[in-house]
């Protein structure tokens, strides 16, 4: 090996230490370094290396399969090993991490073979299937090129050591630096002294350190960079505690046509019009943000039924409609440091069924249900009119959350209310109808936000929306309506979620751009929260108008990923079986890798005896003679011509007399076999008779010998 003594050992120790595999690393390192002490070597040829490399590849495939199935079935992990969902849900990342972390182990046979090989390098053709194939087809360009892989292995160890979780970056950085310096020391140029070398090394260290610090800072900046903004505009995830609106911001609202939710009503017509993720009670006018009014602690864990899959949100409520919802959880909980997401639920949701068994669900007073985990989630929601998870309005308490209106918005609200000319004796329904009418008559939907609604010290964006611009997107409508309702003494909340309107097959799809905000208005007579949406119905058209022509392609892709995700989701507990069913396949594969050469030879032999090419003269009686002589202890080698072999076979003194007649016979036999004009019938007969005679002579000689 070209690496300096003990370098690989140190690298493997470093890797083992960071990956919690210290013992494995030490053993592997020792095995490699032991080659410097012993002279024992194997003589491996190119084919052996091909096989070892193929073995390593299969090993890696098995590992990927194992990690994938073992890890991704987070549920199984969670159920059987009592692990938290947080670890299990991270499965995709974990798969990659574990696979990369074990890389030095799975490629070890190859480096080990090199270390114990007579020539300490591996053929270039072994590592590339393309080169192997080209070589088999006669391309000799890469034949005889050999490669020392010890340095590559060294880097694999360093790389894998970097894929760790249990230690900070500092340790890795310094370990990496020391190991690299060690490796570089032995290959430094003799043209320069130690001082320039040290200076160059320090420069490298400084650059590396600077970059590490820079990366850390960049990561910090990105993490702190208005997480809500990113969440709203990029991944459209909903924070149940607050909803920062984009009111008063300039620019075009852009939401993609990505499909985020799929609905499958149990019966046609069961589909809800809205899927609510969260509702909010408190409007902070400076920040243009709605707050839920409670904290994280506001979330109470829900309890699951005996079967582990049914969650009774509202025990006792009769829910007539049922719908299957497939959504993606893509949130992140800072408190838990784990992924979680808000479930999009139909209003008045009473029960969740067929929820994956390991789920943890929590709900707050505003009807938001948090689920821990990431990725696809499928469940059935039973819902109906009437009671919901939301707490009743707290109009009687001191907080008055559901009736509170920011003081600086009051003048504008009052002005609008006077414009509506609501009779003093109008009941709540009439008031709501008036508001609805007012918005429908005087307001337009717009996703473009100009400077007209920019906040100034004296006016808020909402004021401008209500009094001057009178156009905006759903957040304006919803916020204004909530405040108007409250101003009219109707408890109201600001709801965020999705509008369901795009049929697809027997169900519906919901795209990211279908994200919507609307109001929840309290109905004092039924004592329920009702959806109240004042956004002009044209908004769906406006959003849809931005559809790109190739949307169907994206939809197809989404459909395929969804089907795959669904398959994986549904088959979560079957994955183990899939893995086990893969094992026989791998065994067969391994068999072919290890014994391919033999198989090929056998094939060659078969080809030679093809029935299509019957050589003439194979019926010669001479073969009986050959058989007889071969049985006496001198079988003919495959490459040995008959004449040479006869000299050997007839060397026995006992067969002295036979020599010249057999030679004569061989001439006849050769003519029968190799002369295209063949033997005459007479000579053919002669061959037959003389062979019989010779056979008899041998038998008599044998019996005579025995008698003696």
């Amino acid at each position: 090996m070209k690496t300096p003594p003990l370098l690989l050992f140190a690298a493997l120790l470093f890797w083992g230490w960071l990956s919690d595999l210290l013992l494995v690393g030490a053993v592997m390192g020792a095995l490699l370094e032991i080659t410097r002490l012993t002279t024992f070597r194997w003589e491996l040829d190119d084919t052996d290396f091909n096989r070892i490399w193929s073995f390593c590849v299969v090993l890696n495939l098995v590992l990927i399969g194992y990690v994938f199935t073992n890890n991704d079935a987070g549920g199984i992990n969670g159920m059987f090993h009592g692990k938290t969902l947080a670890t299990a849900a991270n499965s995709g990342v974990l798969t990659a991490i574990r696979f990369l972390r074990w890389l030095p182990m799975t490629t070890f046979p190859f480096i080990f073979a090199q270390a114990f090989n007579e020539r300490p390098s591996v053929p270039l053709t072994a590592v590339s299937l393309v080169l192997r194939w080209r070589r088999r087809h006669g391309d000799r360009a890469f034949a005889g090129r050999y490669l020392d892989i010890s340095h590559s292995y060294f880097f694999v160890c360093l790389f894998s050591a970097g894929v760790h979780t249990n230690n900070g970056g500092q340790i890795y950085f310094w370990g990496l630096f020391v190991l690299l310096a060690w490796a570089l020391w032995f290959v430094r140029s003799p043209r320069f002294g130690i001082i320039p070398w040290l200076l160059a090394l320090s420069a490298m260290l400084a650059i590396g350190f600077g970059e590490m610090a820079g990366l850390n800072r960049a990561q910090g900046i990105i993490q702190n960079f208005n997480a809500q903004l990113i969440s709203y505009f990029i991944s459209q995830r909903t924070d149940p505690l607050q909803s920062m609106t984009s009111m008063g911001r300039i620019g075009l609202l852009k939401l993609s046509a990505k499909i985020v939710i799929r609905l499958e009503p149990r019966q046609p017509g069961d589909a809800p019009a809205y899927l609510r993720e969260a509702s909010y009670r408190n409007y902070a006018t400076q920040k243009m943000t709605w707050f839920a009014g409670g904290g994280t602690k506001d979330f109470e864990p829900l309890t699951v039924e005996q079967d582990d899959t049914t969650w009774n949100l509202l025990p006792g409520k009769k829910a007539a409609s049922r719908v299957n919802i497939a959504c993606y959880l893509n949130g992140w909980s800072r408190e838990l440091a784990a992924p979680e997401g808000v479930l999009p639920l139909p209003g008045g949701c009473a029960r969740l069924e067929n929820v994956p068994p390991y789920m943890i669900l929590k709900a707050n007073q505003n009807g938001a249900v948090l689920a821990a985990g990431r990725g696809l989630l499928m469940f059935d929601a039973a819902f109906g009119r009437g009671a919901s998870l939301d707490s009743p309005p707290d109009v009687d308490t001191t907080n008055h959350y559901d009736l509170s209106v920011p003081t600086n918005e009051i003048p504008a609200l009052q002005q609008v209310i006077s414009e509506m000319q609501i009779p003093a004796d109008a009941n709540e329904l009439e008031r709501r109808r008036r508001i609805e009418q007012f918005f429908a008559n005087h307001f337009t939907y717009s996703i473009w936000q100009g400077t007209d609604k920019l906040a100034t010290p004296s006016t808020t964006p909402l004021t401008k929306f209500l009094l001057t611009s009178r156009s905006g997107h759903c957040e304006y409508f919803a916020s204004a309506t909530v405040l108007l309702l409250r101003q009219l003494h109707i408890p109201a909340r600001y709801a965020v979620g999705y509008s369901v309107h795009e049929p697809r097959g027997s169900g519906f799809v919901v795209r990211e751009r279908d994200a919507h905000a609307w109001c929840l208005a309290w109905n004092r007579t039924t004592k329920t929260w009702e959806d109240f949406d004042t956004t002009p119905g044209s908004w769906i058209k406006v959003e849809g108008a931005r559809t790109a022509g190739e949307e169907w392609l994206a939809d197809l892709k989404s459909w395929i990923t969804f089907q795959f995700a669904k398959f994986r989701w549904r088959q979560a507990n079957l994955q183990q079986y899939i893995f086990w069913s893969l094992i026989p396949v791998l065994v067969v594969l391994l068999y072919f890798i290890l014994f391919r050469r033999r198989g090929k030879l056998r094939r060659d032999v078969k080809n030679k005896n093809l029935p299509g090419a019957p050589w003439p003269g194979l019926d010669s009686e001479f073969y009986q003679l050959e058989k007889k002589l071969a049985a006496r202890g001198a079988p003919r080698q495959p490459g040995e011509p008959m004449a040479d072999w006869l000299e050997r076979a007839l060397a026995e003194p006992l067969l002295n007399d036979l020599r010249s007649p057999v030679r004569e016979l061989l001439r006849l036999h050769n003519a029968h076999r190799f002369d295209p004009s063949g033997l005459s019938a007479e000579k053919r007969q002669q061959l037959k008779l003389e062979v019989t005679a010779c056979l008899e002579k041998i038998s008599t000689a044998d019996t005579a010998k025995k008698l003696r």
Binding site: P638, G639, E640, R673
Partner: protein, 316 residues
């Protein structure tokens, strides 16, 4: 049963071989190889140490068949025109006259062929391949019997231009004479005690006999199975370990033709596997290009061919 022309050809061979044996002692197998190459229409490259009788063998052959013999010593300053000939302007009749070079002969001994420049070498090699030369745009045919015996010194490499692999391929056979046994060498001394026996050598066959011999070789029969065996042997060298460039189909052709000649010499009217096996090394080995690594690990071209002969299943 044997056709008359084959019998006559065999007789011609015996006479020539016996005649040569008078001069060259203990080299029966080399003589047979040499004659097989000549009868098969190929050329021979002798690689051997100085003084082992290469030139004498060539001369003896030439004298035995009453053919024209020319010898050409290859040196670094030898020019193609020194081999092929040159047109010289004649003052008297105001015309160019072509003066034939030494290549216009029956038997040409190209001594130390690797000492001439590649340009000169290739001039000769073209003549060998095509049995014709093009001088000043005019094609001139060489005589019916044109047989080149080239020699190479395997020990000295300074100032030589080793023949490229493509040109090695033009030689039907390459073999060595080697040192004869002490007894034989004493016999050589005795024979030359007073004068060189070569001076007294009488022709044993006419040029026409030899041309008839060449024709007769073409009549020696070879079965399809053995043709297949020849191809299998040659292609086995292409996939052998340590071989960078295997033998070409030209090798297959040469192996078949020389085997036909050898079968004729050995008294067969058809080829048997033994002849193919015996000729495999001299016909194939010099055409192989080994990988540099393989050469250092002790693999030789000869070894590769011998291995192929051992491994490929012989028809029996």
């Amino acid at each position: 049963m044997t056709p008359a022309n084959l019998a006559a050809a065999r007789e011609t061979y015996r006479r020539i071989a016996a005649n040569i044996a008078k001069i060259i002692r203990g080299q029966d197998s080399a003589t047979r190889h040499l004659l097989a190459a000549m009868a098969a229409g190929g050329h021979v490259l002798l690689e051997d140490y100085p003084g082992t009788g290469k030139t004498t063998l060539a001369k003896a052959l030439a004298k035995s068949i009453d053919a024209q013999f020319k010898r050409l010593q290859f040196t670094p300053d030898l020019l193609p025109s020194d081999i092929l000939g040159v047109s010289i302007f004649d003052q008297r009749d105001q015309q160019f006259h072509f003066h034939e070079g030494p290549v216009f002969t029956n038997i040409l001994l190209a001594d130390e062929i690797n000492r001439a420049s590649p340009r000169t070498q290739s001039a000769l090699l073209e003549a060998m391949g095509e049995a014709q030369v093009s001088v000043e745009g005019e094609r001139r045919n060489l005589p019916d019997l044109f047989f080149v015996i080239a020699t190479e010194n395997p020990v000295e490499f300074r100032g030589t231009y080793p023949l490229p692999e493509a040109q090695m391929d033009r030689f039907a056979m390459q073999f060595t004479l080697g040192y004869v046994s002490a007894e034989e060498e004493v016999a050589v001394l005795t024979a030359q005690e007073h004068h060189h026996p070569l001076d007294e050598l009488k022709p044993a066959a006419t040029l026409a006999d030899v041309i008839a011999l060449k024709r007769a070789v073409e009549d020696v029969r070879i079965s399809h199975e053995l043709k297949r065996y020849v191809v299998d042997l040659v292609s086995a060298t292409r996939t052998a370990q340590g071989v960078q460039l295997g033998a070409s189909p030209r090798a297959s052709i040469a192996l078949m033709k020389t085997a036909q000649a050898m079968a004729l010499f050995e008294g067969f009217d058809f080829v048997t596997p033994e002849q193919i096996q015996k000729l495999a090394v001299p016909v194939i080995a010099h055409r192989l290009v080994l990988e540099p690594q393989a050469r250092f690990s002790g693999i030789t071209a000869r070894g590769v061919v011998e291995e192929a002969v051992k491994k490929v299943k012989v028809p029996a």
